[in-house]
């Protein structure tokens, strides 16, 4: 009998025979084969329900056997055993339908349990039914309209799923180890439409854990090609809270700076939702307004007994229903049943917010300094589980990987998350969110405030996955929200729906630029001059930055050091501190790098014009500020009095010596400089940069101040400027952060709710008053 028959394939006699003995003792019928060839011969003649397969076989490999079995008898469930597991073979075997993996030496209990679970799921295999249920037929629908409800017999889902499977990949909810997961659906019986919550959200089909953005030739910035991979896919059984999460991703990836990879995938995706009637005990979706949805799906089902109520949410959904479903108009009874089902479900939620969700942003804002963040995060493992399982988390990292020949390579993005230790760490080693408490708080603020304010959609959909995944039991945003008690009104963010957008396929693809000049400033710093291969100019504003690519090494944000008034080329002054900057320092004239940008806001030229200027640079803060100094000198008549202060740590660390000398002689600019520590050759000022400030004479009513330097410098310089009676609106700073994508998506550069790459890096002190992570 097929039901409990197992084929064991392994070239080691001791392994296959001992497995046979265990399984026979456990009541299975077991056949053994010592090679892939022998196994395939046996499978040709005889059916099995489970195959236990060694992946490394002499002759035909395990993978090859899997492939053939999949063609011949796709219903045989395969379990892989191997002494040499590798991520590649694991995923390949899974793609070929292998159920699971065991590492040799195999423990009998584990194998037996796995086979039992596998057979249990096979046990639900259909028996062919010939019986036809006849019932009185209300009017049959011919043309299906969007936004309307219809009724469909439950069994009709089989036709829909099977028809979709002929045209595209169908994924849906399956059971695994007593939990639910999204996975490929190979037969309708696997599909589960009544479940509480899945371990991972369906958003992985829109933003996979790893995806390639570019292919390149290493070290040659002109050989770069965007990669966009998307296959037509239907996601079946998506709960409303996950649909709401997908709507947020649509907003984040399809409105500003449309993301070509996301859009390609999204536009090829069909979403068939289903109302959640048995919520997870950790869910609080009703408090977040996500237990039901009227948008974001192609079709949405509600289980009303023997039928589904079907809501058509899009033209695609209407076409699908017209083609494959037998719909009828709902009767009053059907509508009552749907209402009852939803109300019953609502009553099952055990957890709820103590305030309305609209009040969260203000509540959080007012409790930024609460001791809760510190105390509650003490047990945080920084393990990333909460952000990995979150349907509204979308931050990512970008890395280059080259082939062993060191020639071809790929730039890929990977899931990343703000609770991970190094998330906000920059190349110089500074970590802008170095402690557990600030990372913990940032995540909760994203969930309750930043996302809502930025995108107009809730940043937490109340699915409860993080609360389940968190071993320390501290991740639930609901708990954090409820722990904060204050009353305040929150603005209702405008809802925006994004649908028809076209992507710039070039979003992540750098433009090739040639290195036309390079010169050393100090042993650690060089200035590089670039010209775009297509002859176009960069078109930057002073204070903006670019992302510089050395393919194979990576990409780094670098501020532009030259003024746009210098035509045709642009200069980047760079300290050698990390992978990319190290590689740049090794480049020779003629090399091609990739440039994206300019990004960021730049210095507010409008606000500076007509004013007196006090410009202050500490160390390599001169790199970005130089673009403004050059600009001001080139348009000298547009500004009043101009004072420039520059401080270096030592005479050897002074930068742009020719320009420093020229400025000191230029009557158009009052220039002072100092070094922290002098030496015998140094005749000028000695002391930190703050010591220069009392020496200059400014009119605080007419003066705008621009300060650029290392993070540590700001606090002291600002303190000194306040003594000069300067208003916060008139003090401008430029901040360093880890700007990875440059287009407001990856999340690394975020200061509270602000993306530095979009809304910065230049801020007035008045703006920073509301950004507490800033300085």
């Amino acid at each position: 009998m097929v039901g409990k028959s197992v084929l064991v394939v392994d070239d080691e006699p001791i392994v296959r025979e001992s497995i046979r003995d265990w399984l026979e003792d456990a009541g299975y019928q077991v056949a053994i084969a010592e090679s892939g060839e022998e196994a395939l011969e046996m499978i040709e003649k005889q059916d099995f329900s489970v195959m236990v397969l060694d992946i490394r076989l002499p002759g035909k490999t395990g993978i090859a056997v899997l492939k053939e079995v999949k063609g011949q008898r796709p219903w045989i469930k395969s379990i892989i055993i191997t002494a040499y597991p590798s991520a590649e073979t694991t995923s390949e075997a899974r793609k070929l339908g292998a159920i699971d993996y065991l590492i040799k030496p195999v423990v009998p209990d584990d194998l037996e349990r796995l086979i039992r679970e596998t057979l249990d799921s096979v046990g639900r295999e259909p028996t062919v039914t010939t019986e036809v249920v006849i019932r009185p037929k209300p009017r049959v629908i011919e043309a299906v309209e969007v936004k309307k409800d219809f009724v469909m017999p439950k069994e009709n889902m089989r036709t829909i799923v099977e028809s979709l499977a002929k045209e595209m990949e169908v994924v849906g909810v399956k059971s695994k180890y007593g939990k639910y997961v999204y996975d490929r659906i190979s037969s309708f019986e696997e599909l589960c439409l009544d479940y509480d919550v899945t371990v991972m959200p369906p958003t992985k089909y829109l933003l996979p854990a790893k995806e390639t953005l570019l292919k390149f030739q290493a070290g040659d910035g002109s050989k770069v090609e965007p990669v966009i991979e998307a296959i037509p896919r239907a996601i079946v059984g998506v709960h409303p809270y996950d649909i709401k999460a997908i709507e947020l991703l649509d907003e984040a990836f399809m409105s500003t700076n449309p993301d070509p990879n996301y859009i390609a995938r999204r536009q090829k995706t069909i979403i068939i939702g289903v109302d959640c009637l048995n919520p997870s005990p950790k869910s609080f979706a009703p408090s977040m307004g996500t237990n039901l949805t009227e948008t974001g799906f192609d079709l949405l089902l509600t289980d009303i007994g023997t039928d589904y109520m079907v809501t058509v949410g899009s033209k695609k959904g209407a076409e699908l229903a017209t083609k494959h479903a037998h719909l009828r108009e709902p009767t009053g009874d059907d509508i009552a049943k749907q209402k009852a089902a939803r109300e019953e479900a609502l009553a099952k939620y055990k957890l709820s917010l103590d305030v309305s969700k609209e009040r969260l942003p203000k509540l959080l804002e007012e409790n930024y300094e609460d001791s809760y963040w510190e105390s509650r995060s003490a047990t945080c493992l920084s393990c990333g589980s909460c952000v990995m399982v979150c349907p509204t988390c979308f931050c990512f990292d970008v890395q280059d990987e080259v082939a062993l020949n060191l020639k071809e390579g790929e730039r890929s993005r990977y899931w990343d998350g703000c609770v991970l230790v190094d998330f906000a760490k920059v190349a110089t080693g500074e970590n802008f969110r170095h402690d557990k408490a600030s990372r913990f708080r940032h995540r909760i603020f994203r969930k309750g405030k930043y996302i809502l304010e930025r995108y107009g959609k809730v940043g937490c959909v109340g699915c409860g996955r993080c609360a389940t995944a968190c071993l320390a039991d501290i991740a639930s945003p609901l708990e954090a929200f409820n722990a904060i008690v204050e009353s305040a009104e929150a603005k209702e963010a405008a809802m925006r729906i994004v649908r028809e957008v076209r992507a710039e396929t070039e979003l992540y693809a750098p433009r090739p630029a040639e290195l036309v000049m390079v010169s050393e400033l100090t042993p650690r710093e060089k200035v590089f001059e670039f010209r775009f291969k297509d002859g176009k100019s960069l078109g930057q504003r002073p204070g903006q930055f670019v992302e510089v690519s050395v393919t194979g090494i990576g990409e780094a944000p670098i501020s532009v050091s030259s003024s746009p008034t210098k035509d045709g080329t642009f200069q980047l002054a760079i300290r050698n501190v990390g992978n990319v900057t190290g590689a740049l320092h090794a480049l020779k004239k003629g090399a091609i790098v990739g440039i994206r940008g300019p990004f960021g806001n730049g210095f507010p030229l409008g606000a500076l014009e007509g004013k007196d200027l006090l410009l202050i640079a500490g160390g390599i803060g001169l790199f970005p500020l130089r673009s403004l100094v050059q600009y001001v000198l080139d348009k000298r008549s547009s500004f009043g009095k101009v004072i420039l202060l520059f401080g270096a740590r030592s005479p050897a660390e002074r930068l742009f010596l020719d320009e420093l000398a020229a400025w000191s002689k230029n009557p158009d600019i009052e220039f002072h400089e100092t070094v922290d520590r002098g030496d015998e050759s140094w005749k000028g000022n000695v002391g930190v940069i703050t010591t220069l400030i009392p020496k200059v004479d400014i009119d605080s009513k007419k003066t705008m101040t621009v300060v650029v330097g290392p993070p540590i410098m700001y606090r002291f310089v600002i303190g000194e400027l306040k003594k000069k009676d300067l208003a916060d609106e008139n003090i401008i700073v430029s901040l360093e952060r880890r700007m990875k994508c440059g287009v407001g998506k990856c999340g690394h550069c975020q200061i509270n709710g602000v993306y530095v790459c979009q809304d910065g890096p230049v801020f007035t002190l008045a703006q920073l008053r509301n950004l507490r992570e800033a300085v």
């Binding site: 991520a87 062993l404 060191l406 990390g578």
Partner: protein, 246 residues
Amino acid sequence: MKPKVAFFDFTSCEGCQLDALNLTAEELISLLNAVDIVNFREVMTERADNYDIAFVEGSITRESEIPRLQNIRDRAKVVVALGACACIGGVNCLKNHLPVDAALRIVYGKDARYYDTIPARPIDALIKVDYYVRGCPPITAELLKVVKALLLGKKPEIPNYPVCTECKMAGNICVFERGMTCLGPVIRAGCGAICVTSGRHCWGCRGLVDDPNLDSEKDILQKYGLTVEKVVEKFKIYNTYAEVTK
């Protein structure tokens, strides 16, 4: 000039070295096009004392190993610790729970007096290590990643977050949810959570992340039913050196 690469082994099973060249023919040819392997006891008989990159396997358990290790450091431009024993001390450090004499007696019985031993330690307890290829054995892809990074002159991007992150990326159901326990929350990722993906749990072979929350992990293990002794035992297997010896 292709960089010269040498492999050395100290106290270990030499499995890391064997696994290091467990490559496809294509990968092996590409690798040999990129580097000259001048010393590799497991696969070749010729030897040279002139090398740029030294891969060192094994932990240090005898006095006589110390000068040999220092000599390698002096000659090599780059030293890479290969595998759990070299990186974190590994299973060899289990003996550090016993007095040296007792360990010798248990292993060698009456012949104990012919042997010398010292508490086991990772190689960075004695020399500066430039890069680490972690794991028992290391993941081949990560070894290649480090080799490529060295050739390109970049710092390899090795995760400093726990296995949980990659375990979720792999779509696994948490080991704790399946009624077992796991060291994943404090162990450095980079393995793709291979053991959990294969149906087991994390043993900790890649060592701790830079800033592990050990107190929290121990509380969790106890919450999930382990006694204090069992918790210590779990850490002992690979992480005795970090946990106990240090």
